[in-house]
């Protein structure tokens, strides 16, 4: 029943108060502690139900949704609210923690979806992408929501193997980049955006030291770049894993071990999280750490300009395109979803132009629709590689643990 509850704090927090009152009552009527507290749970149940029925969306409206005709293209569903006002109801979107709807244009876009279809969107934040997928695997068949957004190609096979998704071919399928849709021939999920994990370097540092920045992965083992690189632990960080996969894509499943041995001898530093690497160790960020090369995102230089304080017109950092590993993010309908039809509408919407145009500045990724225009900073301060490094999702799922354990032995022990 919670799935219908709108996520506005005012209504969401209402059930707290009766509970607190009841607990005070528990304290006073000590002797009947048991009965008081078991009825306490009932009290919560009834309060919540009341709040739910008072809300505009109720479970009784859900059957109407199933009779609705299948959606016909996102342009209609999102931009002509009066003509295609849909069947109402609600849908719950599971997303990773950087998916911020409160006061952002992502939230505005979802509101537009609601006014076009009548379907209210509740967002549930599932932690980082890895945590979200672990939770989805555990709850497969009885999911926390209807749609999951933000699962990437390094996690995808794990979820597909656990039968987390209901396959659905989006109405937007043909408008998305074929290189991305080809990753999921079974249409378990739909690509929404992609980004690159690349070496970033501190432009000023290399100018000051009269040194050319590295141009590919092999360069990093050169003594000229000794003690310059900081990367993340693939066991705890998504860019760290992407960088390990980049080395596997570049040097093959038999060659990457030697490269990392050399890299270790050449003084690579490893930290646990991206923000530690980028802010505490990297010299190009506001943290002004000691190392001029870091494993970060292809969109980090644009972010440095967009969020610069004081404002600036040149990026302090740049990417090395030949080192980029491509991360693709997908959305899919969860198997066992309570509102499967609304869920499909939402997946279509996530791949539609009105949502696609918001992803760059909100999530710092590239839209999966090639026809979407990009903010100028993205084209000016970052470079998209022509041939990004990649490893097939099935290979990642099959070997991830083995690779990470082997890496730990080589680099950390």
């Amino acid at each position: 029943m919670n799935l219908h509850q709108p996520h506005r704090p005012a209504t969401a927090d209402r059930p707290n108060r009766p509970r607190a009152r009841c607990l005070v009552a528990c304290a006073v009527v000590v002797a009947v502690g048991l009965t008081a507290c078991s009825s306490d749970d009932d009290a919560d149940g009834t309060t919540t139900t009341a709040a739910t029925t008072a809300a505009p969306t109720t479970a009784t409206e859900a059957p109407a949704l199933t009779e609705a005709p299948a959606p016909t293209g996102s342009a209609g569903t999102t931009e002509a609210p009066t003509t295609t006002a849909g069947p109402g109801g609600s849908v719950t979107l599971l997303a990773y923690d950087s998916f911020v709807t409160d006061g952002t244009s992502l939230g505005t876009a979802l509101d537009a979806f609601t006014s076009a279809t009548g379907v209210e969107v509740n967002v549930v934040i599932g932690g980082d992408a890895g945590t979200m997928v672990s939770k989805a695997v555990l709850t497969a068949g009885n999911p926390e929501g209807d749609v999951m957004f933000g699962i990437d190609n390094t996690l995808l096979s794990r979820a597909i193997d656990a039968d987390v998704f209901d396959p659905y071919e989006s109405t937007q399928h043909d408008a998305l980049a074929p290189a991305l849709t080809e990753l999921v021939p079974g249409n378990e999920v739909t690509p929404v955006d992609y980004g690159d994990v690349c070496l970033n370097y501190d432009i000023a540092w290399f100018t000051d030291h009269d040194l050319a920045p590295p141009t590919d992965l092999q360069d990093l083992t050169d003594p000229r770049y000794r003690d310059l690189l900081v990367t993340e632990n693939p066991a705890s960080s998504s860019p760290g894993l992407a960088f390990l996969l980049a080395s596997i894509a570049e040097f093959g499943s038999d060659g990457w071990q030697q490269w990392w041995t050399d890299l270790r001898d050449n003084g690579v530093d490893v930290v646990d999280s991206w923000d530690d690497a980028y802010y505490s160790q990297f010299s190009g960020s506001s943290g002004k750490g000691p190392r001029p090369i870091v494993v970060s995102y292809g969109s980090s230089p644009p972010a440095e300009v967009i969020y610069a304080d004081p404002p600036r017109t040149d990026a302090p950092t740049a990417v090395v395109p030949a080192t980029c590993f491509r991360q693709v993010e997908f959305a899919g309908v969860l198997r066992g979803a309570e509102h499967p039809d609304a869920a499909r509408l939402l997946v279509d919407f996530l791949a539609s132009p009105s949502f696609q145009s918001e992803v760059a500045l909100n999530l710092f990724v590239y839209p999966a629709r090639p026809d979407t225009s990009l903010p100028p900073e993205f084209t000016k301060y970052s470079v998209q590689p022509d041939h990004p490094l990649t490893v097939a999702p099935a290979d990642i799922a099959a070997h991830r643990e083995e690779w990470v354990d082997a890496w730990t032995e080589i680099v950390l022990r």
């Binding site: 029943m1 919670n2 996520h7 704090p9 927090d13 059930p15 707290n16 509970r19 607190a20 607990l23 005070v24 528990c26 000590v30 002797a31 502690g33 048991l34 507290c37 078991s38 919560d44 919540t48 950087s98 911020v100 709807t101 409160d102 006061g103 952002t104 244009s105 992502l106 967002v123 934040i125 932690g127 890895g130 945590t131 672990s134 695997v137 555990l138 709850t139 066991a235 705890s236 894993l241 930290v271 646990d272 991206w274 923000d275 530690d276 802010y279 506001s286 943290g287 002004k288 995102y297 440095e304 967009i306 969020y307 304080d309 004081p310 991830r400 354990d405 032995e409 950390l412 022990r413």
Partner: protein, 543 residues
């Protein structure tokens, strides 16, 4: 006062209350524990634990090193924290001076700031060569946990009669000898309680170890999170969580036993704090207070400075753009810091009420009941030793169908916080109940009071001050809690630590500076909350 005596009186007081009342006391905290802790944990274990998983996990290379490192850093952190914490505990428990309440509040803040933030502040403070070393972890652990010693030991220390030490010195003992042979043994139950809590916290330390220890020094808790969230190996994570739990359950069982045996019974009239009179006393108190304040505030000042100085030059931009202000048309960082602050405060109030009520009941039950009470005591400590990931995942697959379809309920978050807050309420209240001289009940009986009535007027009334201390802890824990919240939060109901962590995870000067601005706000609010609770705690009237 000797162990045998303590155990004897314990058994005697257990028989004074009617059995029905004792049962009633135990029922609420016990049901809470079974429903929201034991059930989810068992559900998760039944789902993911297989013999093969156990064997695989235990044979993984490096697992012995992880275990060993976890144990020794926790032991070292605990000893250091006790040594360092005794000074401020003595200062705040024994002396009356202007700003004492504020100083108490300040020492509490490091304990509850999200560890991610503490880690970032320390990284900026400590010289580079300490980054990624066990030394950095130990220093940060001491900084975060001094509050436990100040609170738990201080609560008992304020009740030690001042003339005991004086009597020893009249008999010719040196100041140090009087402290070692009189004060220290009397403080022992509180010291053991504080040590157990600090050990629990440092054994399960996550954020500090992850930020300061680097990938070469993982604790079991860090390894659990990695396995469960990044590698998708929930089974392996559960095996490690069980190992951790077994170690900590043994420790807790030992420490509660030892606390019970060492329970000191003496007059409970709170000793009035003395004003420093001689020049030497004044200098000692002033220096001690200043040193404590400086050590506790330094990392907080670093946070504030970094919010004002993102790259170079001073600017208020991070503060001005907090909230939903557009940075430029179409571009906002998003989030609602004021809303998050309100959510945090509301959550803290509810969590504190639950923790105080259930913790108070549990304390009375533990003090009144015999063996069952002791089992409840250990049981209530277990959530502290269980990784948030495990409890979070357990709740996810337990409360997922009617009539317990609670996954999305907003009250599940303060409830999770209360689970962690209750043991603090128990630890703060139990020493006082155990220190109550059995003669008081006898005296009441002589005057014709029924056992229930004398219990109500003596034990329940005694709880007021320690309950306030426990409430402060519970509120503080709720304000700073991150792990479990991150599993149960929904959009629009973010607490402040979640918002901070999210901002820290983005590139660019401004989100970073905003995160530090919010951390500064969180620290300030916490100081205010604790200071208010401290002012509620007036000196007792005679009587």
């Amino acid at each position: 006062m000797n162990p045998a005596d303590g155990a004897g009186t314990d058994a005697r007081s257990a028989t004074t209350l009617p059995r029905r009342l004792r049962l009633a006391l135990i029922v609420a905290p016990l049901s809470f524990l079974l429903l929201f802790y034991a059930w989810p944990l068992v559900t998760l274990l039944r789902r993911v634990l297989r013999a093969g998983v156990v064997v695989d996990t235990l044979h993984r290379p490096g697992i012995v090193e992880v275990l060993w490192f976890t144990c020794w850093q926790a032991a070292a952190s605990t000893v250091l924290t006790l040594v360092v914490g005794l000074g401020p505990a003595w200062l705040l428990a024994r002396w009356s001076f202007p700003g004492r309440r504020l100083l108490t509040a300040i020492t509490t803040v490091p304990f509850l700031l999200p560890t991610v933030v503490v880690g970032a502040a320390f990284l900026a403070l400590l010289p580079d060569r300490f980054a990624g070393t066990p030394t950095a972890i130990l220093v940060a652990h001491v900084f975060c946990n001094v509050a436990v010693v100040v609170r738990v030991v201080g609560a008992l220390w304020t009740q030690l009669p001042r003339d005991l030490g004086g009597a020893a010195r009249t008999l010719g003992a040196s100041g140090f000898r009087a402290f070692r042979e009189v004060t220290l043994p009397l403080l022992r139950p509180a010291l053991v309680a504080a040590a157990a809590v600090v050990f629990l916290f440092t054994f399960t330390s996550f954020g500090v170890v992850q930020v300061l220890g680097g990938p070469r020094n993982p604790t079991i808790e860090v390894e659990i999170a990695r396995r469960a969230t990044q590698l998708g190996d929930v089974g392996g994570a559960a095996v490690l969580a069980m190992m951790q739990l077994i170690v900590l359950a043994l420790l807790v069982a030992w420490s509660t036993r030892s606390q019970r045996r060492a329970a000191t019974r003496f007059g409970l009239r709170r000793t009035r704090r003395a004003r420093p009179i001689t020049a030497r006393q004044r200098a000692l108190v002033a220096l001690g207070a200043l040193a404590t304040a400086a050590a506790m505030l330094a990392p907080l000042v670093v946070l504030a400075l970094r919010s004002l100085r993102p790259r170079e030059g001073w600017t208020l931009r991070a503060w001005r753009t907090l909230g939903t202000t557009e940075l430029r048309p179409g571009l906002t960082i998003g989030g609602d810091p004021i809303g998050a602050l309100m959510t945090s405060l509301r959550t803290a109030v509810v969590a504190t009420v639950i923790a105080v009520v259930l913790g108070g009941l549990a304390s009375l039950a533990i003090a009144a009941a015999g063996r069952h009470g002791r089992m409840l005591d250990v049981g209530l400590m277990l959530p502290l030793g269980t990784s948030a990931v495990t409890i979070g995942l357990g709740m996810l697959i337990t409360f997922d169908h009617p009539p317990v379809d609670w996954r999305g309920e907003p009250w599940i978050v303060p409830l999770g916080h209360a689970l962690v807050g209750i043991p603090f309420v128990v630890r703060s209240t139990l020493p006082t109940l155990r220190a109550r001289p059995p003669g008081w009940i006898d005296a009441a009986a002589t005057l014709g009071a029924s056992p229930t009535r004398s219990w109500w007027h003596i034990d329940v009334a005694l709880l007021r001050r320690p309950l306030l201390v426990g409430a402060g802890f519970a509120a503080a824990i709720s304000l700073g809690e991150f792990g479990a919240t991150s599993f149960l939060t929904r959009a629009g109901r973010e607490t402040l630590p979640i918002t901070i962590a999210r901002l820290l995870g983005r590139a660019g000067d401004l989100p970073r500076a905003q995160a530090f601005a919010l951390a500064t706000i969180l620290a300030a609010v916490t100081i205010a909350v604790i200071a208010v609770i401290e002012t509620l705690d007036r000196e007792p009237r005679d009587g």
